[in-house]
Assembly symmetry: C3
């Protein structure tokens, strides 16, 4: 599996990066050390000392520089350049590490793994609810022992809410039966907008963590799923019986989720689900707990699926109408990869 | 290592297959989901949804059908055919899973991994003591992290009783010194009959769980070991001093053991040892405990042997007279494989 | 990575080899069983029964022979020859296991993995402090999940004392700043003598386990590091303020350390640090505890380095002045390998 490089990948929640310390995470197989300068800038460097390959993250901060914990080589964070070799009057110029472009947007820290010249913040997804006074959430992270594509597939077909999440996010087979509308979209990067309305169903189990409902609700899920693997979703439910214009019992959520390949076979999953106009910490925690339960349901299923697929790598699957969005997304992925390859051919 | 497919493999003890639920076990690298219909029939299906490869065993029963827990595809157990796709008026015919022939014979559930047309119950081994009013046992299962062939080797040469099982099933080097008689046999499938008599030896340690013995015993082991890897054994011991015709202190056991490849490098081991005319639960439990101890002794030794052999795969072993039965059995195995290959060539 | 075979490898501390029992350890990928005869001689045999490959170390001693625990084959320790097969009048001559030359020198047991004819005890390193009335130590062992070369690198450049061992063996960046003298040496096998003097530095944290110091000390590290991977070091410290001729507060240590490849990717590490003229068990234990802490610091760093290097096997490192000794040692290694290859070409 080949990965797109000219795009922003979520590498961390901003609270994960310590003040004065070092944090390491691997993206596309490349270990990266993250730090926050005295001025507050987040910097991402290759986590490998150029001298003998030790991880810089096992060293220590000296101001805005990193000193390798093995032989004391010191790297300037701003430039990636070695600025001190113990016992040498002047560090050799060739000693340096790659610095990756970083963008911090509303609590997500993104890293750019491709051509630096193309690192454009206009390509960031609109994760507005991760920092908006009307929305409240808790930040989530899960690690997957599967490749990223199976998780994208999962997020592109909400049929599974009726089965995988029957007792958490789902609660009705009507979700599976509703046919979504799928259309192209650009939200930073190209992707798909998936719109699914489900009328007159029981409120899903996790809604009851917020309030009680008199009867059925009309639900909606409207999300952009964009390259390389980010979901931005408005969803909600409104009691069927409520009078037109009465929004007092309407649930409105916005969710930001992003998957980042750690390696070809393991994946980072960053997520939140924000509740509009509801800041009660117990309810926010309840929504988060439901999400964790549900996303573990996904992970169990996807991991079991991955193990089955690994047994017979070449064997065909059987696409059904559910798979329209995910087949289209894989085409977008292939197009982006092809474009990258063309870009890198010198003219 | 290549496996015979046109034969019955033990896949489970019948008590392992729940009423109303699903049970999964892998045989010859193929995950298989087992279920029991309302009418009581045991059915084996490939444990892989044809849609996107998720294990059906993570789904749920709906009557005698299985609904996949990922996207709700429903598979009829009797036919393996998909009978419902959520949101489709009619399920596509091409959606189906393989159903494997099953035989249930006296608490062992067998599955047929080869050509359905050849699945003949006359090929089942005679495991009579697994359901016989005069015999009492407890059912055993162990998992091996070794290939099946090394376990067959072990069961085909009881020399090891004197050394591996000195303090459990053995108790005397006379077992190793006695030369067994080896002859061809058919017990369902072709195999070998191995007969070993050992005169005037102390009763083995585990006999003392049944009763006390005044002095030495004459022991015997008469077993069929048949393809693909099933042992059916009469064994026993009779006090040397007992008068002709006095069977009051004679021990008579019948054991059924079967090894099934899970993968090329891991194996399922199903076993029981039944005591004739003895139903005292404490004694039956004592025999079972001795067997578990002894079979763990085997597993420790065989696993250590396997790790040694893996270091130098091509290196020769040194066959001795002990190895007569196991060399003959490997010939039978090779013949069966060759016959299968010939059968599958279209004329 | 290719290993030198015509040399002595430390395989055990002599106290590890039981009286009357069997001990197993793997060297250069070859499992070896060690035993001590009734006369006290230590013998090393290939830990693999010639019959069917079971480890002899799972068998038992019968006098100075080993009986395999699987089928009772008995091997004479002195010759490696099979001397009994149960049920055979005479064991076949072809049944034998390789016996490796062994040398026991001052609590280290060495094994020779190459051409027996070349096994010369004059090639043993001078580990005198492992059995000397003026020196006291405790014996240490660690297991590494890395190849041996990265550990040799570590031992050949003490720059890392200032960073990896800042709070244990180091205590000052002056160690990193001091340039060592490097010269060829023969200590049994060829190697390098590395001499480093560090003037007027605080006593390292672990010195304080021995006594208190009024102020700074002058330190020295003088060690031979010889093929295949043995360090023999005199080190010490003397208070700067002490009058000439006053040695009452001088610390004098001698350390013997040796790394032995278990496999291409795992390593045994044997070590001691002996204190001259100090036998107080609490102080000896304190030195040992400091060493364990420090050698775990090394192992953490080297293991992290190894994982980084494994990601991109071909990628270049950037040698610096620190690396003079380790580059020279790798040359000696390559020369020894080349000489071995020439020796084995029949003329």
């Amino acid at each position: 599996m080949e990965f797109i490089r000219n795009c922003w990948y979520v590498i961390a929640w901003d609270h994960e990066i310590p003040h004065g310390g070092l944090f390491t995470r691997t993206v596309l197989g490349q270990p990266i050390v993250l730090l926050r300068t005295a001025a507050g800038e987040v910097i991402a460097l290759e986590d490998r000392c150029p001298h003998r390959g030790a991880p810089l993250s096992k060293g220590r901060r000296e101001g805005d520089a990193v000193r390798c914990g093995y032989h004391g080589i010191m790297i300037d964070a701003a430039s990636g350049q070695c600025i001190e070799v113990p016992g040498m009057a002047r560090a050799p110029d060739r000693l340096c590490v790659r610095r990756y472009p970083v963008a911090v947007q509303r609590h997500w820290v993104f890293v750019w793994m491709g051509d630096d010249a193309k690192a454009d913040k206009a390509l960031l997804p609109d994760n507005f609810s991760s920092a908006h006074p009307d929305y409240h959430y808790l930040p989530g992270y899960l690690h997957y022992d599967t490749s990223v594509d199976l998780i994208c597939d999962n997020l592109l077909d909400f049929t599974h809410l009726s089965y995988v999440h029957e007792k958490t996010l789902g609660g009705s087979t009507a979700i599976a039966l509703a046919r979504p509308q799928i259309e192209p979209v650009v939200n930073g990067m190209p992707g798909l907008r998936v719109t699914r309305h489900v009328a007159d169903v029981p409120p899903p189990p996790y809604y009851r963590r917020m309030r009680s409902f008199p009867g059925n609700v009309n639900r909606w899920f409207i999300y952009d799923f964009v390259l390389p693997g980010t979901l931005l979703m408005h969803s909600g439910g409104r009691p069927v019986e409520d009078a037109p214009g009465d929004e007092s019992r309407t649930v409105r959520l916005h969710s930001c989720q992003s998957v980042t390949p750690e390696t070809a076979t393991t994946t980072h999953y960053f997520f939140q689900q924000a509740l509009q106009g509801e800041s009660d910490p117990q309810i926010v925690q309840g929504i988060f707990d439901s999400l964790i339960t549900a996303f573990n349901e996904d992970r169990d299923m996807i991991t079991a699926q991955a193990r089955n697929l690994e047994r017979e790598p070449g064997r065909a699957l059987a696409p059904l109408h559910f798979d329209a969005a995910l087949m289209q997304f894989r085409k977008l992925w292939a197009q982006a990869l092809a474009a990258e390859r063309n870009d890198s051919i010198p003219s």
